[in-house]
Amino acid sequence: MNRLIVILFFFFAATGVYAQCNPDAYTSACVPKLADGFNFLKSYKIDGQGGQKEKIEYSYLFTKGTQYMINLCAEGADTDGIVVSLFDGARNKIASNLINGKFVNQLTMQCNATGIYYIQYTFNGSRNYCGGSALGFKK
């Protein structure tokens, strides 16, 4: 029996059960939290696998003349140290939700330059490395 327990321990350690991250719950919670007037476009899962994964990245084509909002949901009311950064197609950093040392869980931008943008999630002092995010737009 002891041998079986040891095997199960290593099985779960190797398959990443450690963190029990359920990003779907956070994305579902995040979609309705887009501000009034914004239409939902995409939801993004953030699973840092207990700290093993340094960044998670998605991309989307932003269009000039459109206002976009990215919001962030994690355990509790704050962002749990999840940093969302926006880069343009040439990898120039546009902004992040860590502004002058303070985290915010909503970012908005009136886009003036059409192109592919990268939405990157990293961790800065996170406890759970787990969250969800939603992208919305309005004209």
Binding site: T108, M109, Q110, K139
Partner: protein
């Protein structure tokens, strides 16, 4: 500890059959035509990355309504076309097009036309084996009421996102690519026809030019799947459309942005710009080829 082990065993056992049942209808639907025989070796990560970048047709509808363009029901793909869609290839393109039409009718609050689109979407989703992602009773209920527009758009968008994720997990990304293509071509057609009624509308003309970016990205995916004869033919049609965009210029000018917190929200001031150079003649050429392409995929 014994109970713990029994629970673990039950959890492992319980995962198998339910997933199998869930996928059965989907697998059956694909084994009936040529799309069931695509070769392995597709770079799934790349395909997923490109697919997630493609904007929703909802954005085009929002632009039209914001530009003061009137609703035109004659632009919708006729629901009478439904019996023509008998293969996975045709069904995937058609559900994308009807989905795009659903966004268009919803945003304009045209409840009767919305409701008319529910049945074709439901039928095609079932035929494609992805009916489980569409709670049509809820969608039909929401579609009948103008006040529910936001909820309807949100649910429809979530459904299509979930379908795409499912298809990619099942390594059937070509179905996603076709759905995206159908939706994009339909939105493009509506945009071009709306513009033709008011060619002085510079914002619409620029937006048509910007579609070059989407077409270019979409076409990156076709080489993976063009061993299928239908997809190969569609790729040739897209190449023809791409050639009409070749001389359209999109000029980017990067300037560092600024960000400040206003009422708890990080507000980014985007100082970069893009300028689109596209002539009315180029738009007319794109319109002609898009009309032919739409006719090819939906009729």
């Amino acid at each position: 500890m014994r109970y713990f082990l029994i629970l673990v065993a039950l959890a492992v056992i319980s995962c198998g059959p339910s997933q199998e049942q869930k996928d059965q209808a989907f697998e059956q639907s694909l084994s009936q035509d040529s799309l069931g025989n695509l070769p392995p070796g597709v770079n799934d990560e790349f395909v997923e990355r490109v697919l997630q970048q493609i904007p929703s047709p909802l954005e085009v509808s929002a632009l039209l309504i914001n530009s003061g363009m009137e609703y035109n029901p004659e632009l919708l793909n006729s629901t009478d076309n439904l019996p023509k869609y008998t293969t996975t290839f045709k069904r995937a393109l058609a559900i994308g097009a009807y989905g795009s039409d659903l966004y268009y009718t919803s945003l304009y609050g045209m409840n009767k036309d919305e409701l008319r689109l529910i049945n074709p979407i439901k039928t095609l989703a079932n035929d494609l084996g992805i009916g489980q992602f569409f709670d049509m009773a809820t969608i039909a209920r929401l579609a009948g009421n103008r006040e529910n527009m936001d909820s309807l758009l949100m649910i429809t968008m979530q459904n299509f996102n979930a379908v795409n994720q499912f298809l990619q997990e099942k390594q059937r990304s070509e179905v996603s690519v076709l759905m995206m293509t159908g939706g994009w071509v339909e939105a493009m057609y509506v945009l071009l026809e709306a513009y033709s009624l008011d060619p002085s509308h510079d914002e619409l003309r620029e937006h048509i030019g910007e579609q070059k970016i989407i077409l270019t990205h979409l076409m990156l995916l076709y080489p993976y799947f063009e061993q299928d004869k239908n997809i190969g033919n569609l790729h040739n049609h897209l190449k023809k459309l791409k050639s009409a965009f070749d001389d359209v210029e999109i000029i980017s000018n990067f300037k560092e942005s600024t960000v400040e917190i206003i009422n708890g929200v990080g507000v980014i001031k985007d100082n970069s710009t893009t300028t689109v150079k596209i002539t009315r003649q180029q738009v007319e050429d794109i319109r002609t080829i898009t009309g032919e392409l739409r006719n090819y995929i939906l009729n």
